[in-house]
């Protein structure tokens, strides 16, 4: 069996069918990490108890008991999710040695389903960034071309799968952090509806926007992982009590009569020619399968990026206040003796990277008295209008299709000194987070330079089923896209 290029579903079936043991699978991927990660730098740490977990799955199978829906599937977990007894750093110096005494609900659910946590993957520090260059452990490289970024902030998770160091991974998406790296690395990646997945144990960046979701090599894998991690959670009051469909069993590629909306504002601007070509090809593929293409208008979406950066940084400035050197994480030894304020500022000054500091400052400003109304408050109002605008658009279409990013992956270091340019990269993705809608990145083609390009699908709240159906239709139509392999393999 070609474990390297197998999907999660294939591995699960093979393990359950005793064609391969979970232990063999784990060792295979652990070896690949050993061999490849010095080039890619996707992992922050590996799990030295992974083999024990695999053995437990094998023991269950030997006993004839149910080993779970993800039996023996190695999963790379973004290092923003707490893992009990396993270092969790958010790729930040301030949490360099933090070992949580609990696991995120997402991790607990995966492990309960027999998945094996193979390692913790790199991210832009505290999930702030779109290139995975802002990580305490250095930049991650795109397995399709090591000179390029994998995208961010779930860049480590994306690169881990692209380099086949894990068949599936968990990322988190606050403004596009699953979809954009999925697009840059040629993967399927979904940000579910806000509330679909528990945020308990996920280190908060912007609480009202963050959602964890799967990244994988197929639509079905995403469906399988998402149905495993979804559902209400007693530890997260923002998690929805709505029923979770068995997507992995119910999705079809039938898109006949489905109305696919193209937001005219997204296509009006001069677009990167590769991105435009790939997007048009995806639209044509859906048309061939019987989908109806309709125009929709989202005039307020042009405000999504500024609104996003006000809401996200405001929440971040508050969420990151707990990293003060008092109870866990980095505490400065350089503070003036007996000066509490200096202890705070030295610990935080040494522990946080520059992008995180930039956002804390921005958020602190936006929330401060005298500016709250003009910034945070106003952004919240526009956010509501953007949400309404989407709901309105979904009166005339079932799915919205757009590019994921303005361009394919860029070179490491190319935009590092231009944060604004980097922020604008999120123009197509941030609005779904603001509206709480589900969004998905589906591999749809390549740039002339051979870098992957994805298209984005968006549906109504809790309508992931339809999104998966469209994704599957695209996946089946664009087999040639799937057949290509990254250079590093």
């Amino acid at each position: 069996m070609d474990l390297t290029n197998s999907t999660c579903t294939e591995i699960r079936d093979a393990v359950r069918g005793k064609k391969v043991s979970a232990l063999e699978v784990t060792r295979h991927f652990a070896d690949r990490i050993q061999k490849l990660d010095s080039k890619v730098n996707a992992f922050v740490s590996t799990n030295d108890r992974a083999e024990d977990a695999a053995k437990m799955v094998d023991a269950k199978i030997a006993k004839g008991s149910d080993p779970g829906a993800l039996a023996g599937v190695p999963m790379a977990i973004k290092d923003l999710l707490c893992t009990k007894g396993l270092k969790t750093t958010a790729s930040s110096k301030i949490l360099a040695n933090f070992v949580p005494p609990y696991s995120a609900t997402v991790v607990n659910r995966l492990e309960a389903a027999g998945a094996v946590t193979i390692g913790k993957t790199s991210l832009d520090e505290f999930a702030m960034g779109s290139s995975n260059e802002n990580a305490a452990t250095g930049p991650v490289h795109n397995p399709w071309n090591l000179e390029y970024v994998p995208g961010g902030s779930s860049g480590g998770s994306a690169a881990a799968i692209a380099a086949r160091m894990a068949p599936g991974a968990i990322g988190t998406d606050t403004g596009g952090s699953i979809r954009q790296p999925a697009s840059f690395c040629g993967l399927f990646g979904i940000k579910p509806t806000y509330g679909r997945v528990s945020r308990f144990g996920i280190i908060a960046f912007a609480s009202s926007l963050d959602q964890a979701g799967p990244m994988a090599l197929s639509t079905k894998d995403c469906a399988l992982i998402l149905e495993t991690i979804s559902g209400s959670c007693a530890h997260d009051s923002t998690s929805a009590t709505i029923e979770v469909p068995k997507w992995s069993e119910i999705i079809t590629e039938d898109v006949k009569g489905l109305r696919v909306g193209l937001p005219k504002e997204y296509f009006a601007e001069k677009m990167d020619s590769d991105v435009e070509r790939v997007t048009r090809e995806a639209i044509a593929a859906l048309k061939d399968k019987g989908a109806v293409i309709v125009d929709v208008s989202l005039p307020l979406v042009k405000h999504a990026v500024p609104v996003y950066y006000l809401v996200a940084t405001s929440e971040a400035s508050s969420n990151l206040a707990r990293y003060d050197g008092m109870r866990f994480g980095h505490r400065s030894t350089n503070a003036a003796h007996g000066d509490l304020d200096d202890l705070y500022s030295s610990s935080r000054g040494e522990g946080f990277g520059s992008e995180v500091k930039r956002r804390i400052m921005l958020g602190t400003y936006a929330l401060s008295s005298g500016y709250y109304d003009a910034y945070y408050q106003k952004a919240s109002q526009v956010r509501r209008l953007i949400r309404n605008e989407f709901l309105n658009a979904f009166q005339t279409c079932d799915v919205i299709l757009s590019p994921v990013c303005t361009s394919p992956a860029f070179k490491v270091g190319e935009r590092i000194n231009d944060p604004l340019e980097m922020y604008l990269n999120d123009i197509f993705t941030t609005s779904t987070n603001l509206a709480g809608l589900p969004g998905m990145s589906v591999p749809a083609g390549y740039s002339k330079a051979g870098l992957p390009i994805g298209v984005q699908l968006m549906t109504r709240h809790f309508d992931e089923t339809r999104m998966f159906n469209v994704s599957l239709a695209l996946e089946n139509s664009l087999q040639a896209v799937k057949a290509r392999r990254p250079n590093v393999i």
Binding site: L81, C82, T88, A90, L95, F98, P100, P101, Y102, A104, R199, F200, G201, I202, I203, A204, A206, S207, S208, A234, H235, D236, S237, T238, S314, E315, S317, S318, L320, A321, R322, D324, M326, R327, F328, G338, L340, D341, Y344, T364, L367, S368, S369, Y372, Y376
Partner: protein, 491 residues
């Protein structure tokens, strides 16, 4: 401080041309078993940092989940304070850095609190006071820091404990009133069993906002907040000190600064903790980890059903049902035991509410006070007192005899009928018997009779006294009056 003012104040009179304006914020710890947003215990007296978890220590990734019992208790208190309960209230983050504040923010309600627009009534001496409640909102407590010279220790057992912050309007006008308001709120919390009210353990803390202005001024002047006062007596003393300090400042031309002060009970003075310039910008914003708290009408109704009849409602009912004055009703409902006792007296007396209130409020309370007994310890049962009132109403005994019966009941605890029988205290209502006594008295005092008839009206009392004496006080006073008048006027 000018000694004139001090004298005026200690004499309990006034502050000259000045008028104090006081508002009080009370932090009441809700007596839930677990914390506001997690399962950790709220029990007092455990080892340091024993009652903590990832939520109340703000570990990365931890999320708050609202304690339903805390909401229920808050709604209960809100209803008891006559507040409107907001169906959709919002938790916000109040942000500042301090080592005993693990998240770097306190979760509190800000612009959309759970309870609003209530009222608390109480008696200050004989005067009825009515203080508005601006709001009562839910929040969590911080941890506790102890400082030991070179280092500080943090105990997070208290972090995340649910609090209800009850904010009064600036309606309070003096130190005694401030203390009595706090006592009343304390009493209601305990009455509802939503707060143990333990001041030593910090379950009930007061912040007092004090300003003074010249009488007749409409605008409020700069206010000063005195924080964390944990005794009613200290509320009174701290407010008193602060009023005098501020008047003194105005008199000497000194400026009052908006600041936060602390009260030192040993020195009986307030001192500055921080100035407004040092005050934080709390950067409040709605907590995105908690959706707005939505409460169904049915939940509020269910809580309302668990409310005991509250003092104020009970007072209103007493006025209507027992036809007693407002003042009486407020006195009688100050304590639940007293109100219960009074109602039992009325029942046993067959419904004479006013007479029952007179006996309870004057004779009984005097005896209780003198002997330092509680209502529950009264040797006179409510039923006996009621029966005694019934005897008066039936005309069996006079009010005067009743005084004797009452004191006999107090010492022996016997039933009034028994006492009346044993001592032969039955009132004489037989016309001929009284007439006979009157005739005897007039016959024995011819000079006085002549003088009275000659116009010396005042002698009437002398004859009443003589008749009562002759009948050992048992003659019906009404009848004596009536018959005596007839006989003396020479018929």
């Amino acid at each position: 401080m000018s000694s004139d003012l001090e004298k005026a104040a200690t004499a309990g009179t006034s502050y000259g041309d000045y008028e104090p304006i006081i508002g009080i914020e009370i932090h009441a710890q809700l007596s839930t078993a677990s914390k506001m947003f997690c399962h950790s215990s709220t029990a007092f007296g455990h080892a340091d940092n024993e009652n903590i978890c990832e939520v109340c220590t703000a570990m990365p990734g931890a999320l708050p989940v609202i304690n339903k019992k805390a909401v229920e208790f808050s709604v209960k208190m809100g209803l008891a304070l006559g507040c409107e309960i907001r169906k959709r209230s919002v938790f916000s983050r109040k942000q500042y850095f301090y080592p005993d504040l693990p998240k770097g923010y306190q979760i509190s309600q800000f612009d959309l609190p759970l309870c609003e627009h209530g009222r608390v009534d109480f008696l200050l001496g004989t005067e009825k006071k009515s203080i508005s409640i601006t709001r009562a909102h839910m929040e969590e407590d911080a941890g506790k820091s102890t400082h030991h010279g070179e280092y500080s220790l943090i105990n997070l057992n208290r972090a995340g404990t649910p609090l209800l912050e009850i904010v009064s309007g600036p309606d309070i006008r003096g130190p005694a009133e401030a203390a009595e308001y706090a006592r009343t709120v304390h009493k209601i919390l305990r009455y509802l069993d939503v707060c143990d009210g333990n001041l030593e353990e910090g379950s009930f803390r007061c912040d007092c906002n004090v300003s003074v202005r010249k009488k007749g001024e409409k605008e409020l002047r700069t206010r000063v907040e005195i924080k964390n006062i944990n005794s009613f007596r200290f509320v009174e003393k701290a407010v008193e000190y602060e009023i005098l300090r501020q008047i003194d400042c105005y008199e000497t031309g000194e400026k009052i600064h908006q600041e936060t002060r602390l009260y030192d009970p040993d020195k009986n003075r307030t001192f500055m903790m921080r100035s407004k310039e040092e005050a934080h910008d709390y950067r409040y914003f709605p907590d995105p980890d908690l959706l707005p708290l939505e409460i169904e009408e049915s939940f509020i109704d269910a809580v309302r059903k668990t409310l005991p009849e509250l003092p104020l409602k009970r007072a209103e009912r007493f006025q209507q049902e027992y036809k007693i004055p407002e003042y009486d009703s407020l006195v009688l409902t100050q304590e639940r035991d007293l109100a219960d006792y009074y109602e039992a007296v009325v029942v046993a007396a067959g419904g004479n509410g006013k007479s029952a209130s007179n006996w309870v409020m004057t004779d009984l309370m005097r005896e209780l006070n003198e002997s330092k007994k509680t209502v529950a310890q009264s040797p006179i049962t409510a039923s006996n007192l009621g029966k005694m009132i019934a005897l008066i109403d039936k005309g069996t005994i006079s009010g005067k005899i009743a005084k004797t019966v009452f004191s006999e009941m107090w010492t022996s605890g016997k039933e009034p009928e028994v006492i009346v029988k044993e001592k032969g205290l039955v009132q004489i209502t037989d016309t001929s018997a009284i007439e006979k006594a009157i005739d005897d008295v007039i016959a024995a005092s011819p000079n006085e009779a002549a003088a009275y008839r000659g116009g010396k009206d005042k002698l009437f009392g002398f004859f009443v006294g003589q008749v009562m004496k002759a009948t050992k006080g048992q003659a019906s006073p009404d009848m004596v009056n009536q018959l005596l008048k007839k006989k003396l006027s020479g018929s």
